[in-house]
Subunit: 137 residues, 2 copies
DNA sequence: ATAAACTTTGCAACCCGGTTGCAGGAACAT
DNA sequence: ATGTTCCTGCAACCGGGTTGCAAAGTTTAT
């Protein structure tokens, strides 16, 4: 496990500090996307700023991607192994209005959009809101 | 003009107070979506809370819709005349990373997504980021 | 092994958008 | 005019995000 964590960090050129190992550990276990405040709560004693910068580092190095699900706090989730976060790599996200969980629908790519003339595409954020399978019972 | 503004308010069952007329006026003139802080700046002397509640009222009554473009402040834009903000009414939005403007691409409907079993759709927020035609020159 | 250079961490403070409580004021019905 | 309801303005607050700075840790050169 531990070696796997380090491998993932090194594969993205991120120095494997203790803090980063711990955060990546949490992100690996976590099945849904997680916000900075939620991440804070996963640790007994952790500094918001450090976690914040850790997430930023991970995001810059494309180990994780961010999702703005409209709940007021940006969420983060692991990227696929070889993900480069290009528009064609992106998938749809689902935000449950009951439990607040945000899911990566990795099987559902973001549909291609034909933009008006002179509009250049860089990225897309597509969030579907509704009730997830857990809350639907 | 003035009568038109009042008609629009009444059509949505919103009492036409002076404040509301002024805000709707601004939203009508405005071609791109506008945030609460931006709206504040359009007035010499205006109370944030009042503008906030005005926008909320407009949104509840489907006179305007909100867009979370990921810039940190939610933006608002007028709905089409008969809009009910149902999933099939929704269009794609474009957020320019250069000038910060957010456009309603009213001609581009949000593509239908086939969700996994037991996931119920309520609404969709789809924001394309890139460079707009103005900044592309 | 030691010093210098750089990176990461932790604390504190701050910024800003969003939101609420409350009291005064306007509109409206009786 | 009186009471009721709705709207407005002020103030204060909340919470996520972000930055400055100094201490601690790590790397590199000598």
């Amino acid at each position: 496990m531990k070696e796997n964590i380090d491998k993932q960090l090194q594969a993205r050129n991120i120095k494997p500090t203790t803090m980063r190992q711990l955060v990546l550990q949490v992100l690996t276990v976590q099945k849904t996307a997680i916000s900075l405040p939620e991440l804070e709560n996963k640790f007994e004693k952790a500094d918001k700023a450090t976690l914040y910068r850790t997430l930023k580092t991970f995001e810059e190095n494309k180990l994780i991607h961010s999702i703005d699900d409209g709940t007021g706090s940006v969420k983060y989730a692991l990227c696929r192994e070889a993900c480069e976060c290009h528009p064609e790599d992106l998938h749809v996200h689902f935000s449950c209005t009951v439990c607040g969980q945000t899911y990566c629908l990795t099987d559902i790519p973001v549909p291609k959009i034909h933009l008006p003339a002179q509009f250049q595409l860089e990225s897309v954020n597509m969030v579907v809101k509704g009730i997830c399978s857990n809350c639907d019972k």
